[in-house]
Symmetry: none
Subunit: 247 residues, 2 copies
């Protein structure tokens, strides 16, 4: 499904950025890179920074115009700072990811479009996009580099993908299953604990209630597993012995 | 509020990564960087990659141990791949961001902890964290570089911050907030507990490690509040007295 989301880099100047973008994509499970009129080659620097994702950079489709890059796409989103001169439908990164995965689930392609390192996308290119997406950066310093922007938007695509999968297979997600004690055993632990608190004179025999409620609340949050409960019981027994053996 | 979230880099080898991490932080509005036993200097390479965020790298606090880095923090989250050998309370990046902002809103500090480039955090360091957070990367290629991981988790902190601001404007924020101890106090509790386990001969003096790790894991899940921690300390003291008074 993630191969239905393309990452389109327009007019990239530094080959290292192509490599880093490829790495960011692959880590997030994306694979389809398109280079529009790149100003550099996919060279050794690109390969070095791509690390294990050099396949994505080497297999990138190279085209002359943004139009060519996105012609099969039903959803085209351009990455851009929020603009005052160009009012355009805006998406948050999170909604952008969700919309793309919605498309992908119906075998439709979408494109995340990133502009030049210094100047971004031209107005003409921005107007070829259905939406713009702005990463809500620090207004005092919003200089996100290209690969970081690819990383962040790809991350939201992946999160939307995982959310959707979880919904699809809900009930069948985590493999690890903790073994929890039966309530009976839990109550035996609390009785034991209460006894030790009285024995050590931490609480008086008539008034253990308030402290015990606090401790129940604490241990309920932790939800001890069987093994852990056994450890706690063992500690209580060790305390009893230490007191008793001195008697 | 965002200055209550620290980014802690442990044993970083490449100064460029410190620079790129500083840039990622600043773009997302974070400012507090701590370097634990760095294996490199904040040199020209770091400054170059930090671009307009060199102030963050240059002002980074440098300390010897993770414990020092996080002693004032009420929430410590270690970045880690999901581990099979060490089961620990896990957070999704999104929940991690939200929890940190919740703390920050009440003037509490939290720390995002990142390990070494090749080997990550040691088990010992991971066990000093209250939670682990894993960026849900592509299982076939999960090699996220350090700065990208900083970018992604800082992004979720920022998103949580913006969400909260939005809710604050719509007057929709709950008032109740648990008071959590600083990490220093938590560590004092663990030392105290360890001492009592040895005193009661539940563990031998040389081998408290394994049991202590189990107990850390349990209490990390519970995340004791200040009052609760005081209760636990009080119980330990009562046990000590009971043993001692019989001697």
């Amino acid at each position: 499904m993630l191969n239905h989301v393309k990452v389109v880099l327009v007019g990239t100047s530094h080959s290292g950025n192509i490599g880093s973008a490829a790495r960011a994509m692959k880590v997030m499970g994306l694979s389809e890179m398109v280079l529009v009129a790149p100003q550099c080659e996919v060279d050794a620097q690109a390969i070095a920074l791509a690390a294990g994702a050099s396949d994505i950079a080497l297999n990138a489709q190279v085209v002359e115009s943004l139009e060519q890059a996105v012609e099969e796409c039903t959803l085209v989103v351009g990455s851009s700072a929020r603009s005052r001169t160009l009012e355009w439908p805006m998406l948050e990164p999170r909604d952008c990811g969700r919309k793309m995965i919605e498309q992908a689930a119906h075998h439709r392609h979408s494109a995340l479009v990133f502009g030049r390192e210094r100047t971004g996308l031209t107005n003409d290119e921005l107007q070829k996009c259905h939406y713009h997406v702005a990463i809500p950066a620090n207004p005092e310093y919003s200089s996100l580099n290209l690969a970081m922007a690819v990383q962040t938007l790809s991350y939201e695509v992946r999160m939307a993908y995982l959310e959707r999968q979880e919904r699809a297979y809900s009930g069948n997600i985590s493999q690890y299953q903790a073994e929890y004690p039966r309530n009976k055993e839990l109550e035996l632990f609390y009785s034991h604990l209460e006894k030790v608190l009285v024995d050590t004179q931490f609480t008086s025999k008539d008034q253990p209630g308030k402290v015990m409620n606090k401790l129940r609340r604490l241990f309920s949050r932790a939800r001890p597993e069987i093994q852990e409960l056994n450890t706690l019981r063992g500690i209580l027994t060790a305390v009893e012995k230490s007191i008793g053996s001195k008697r």
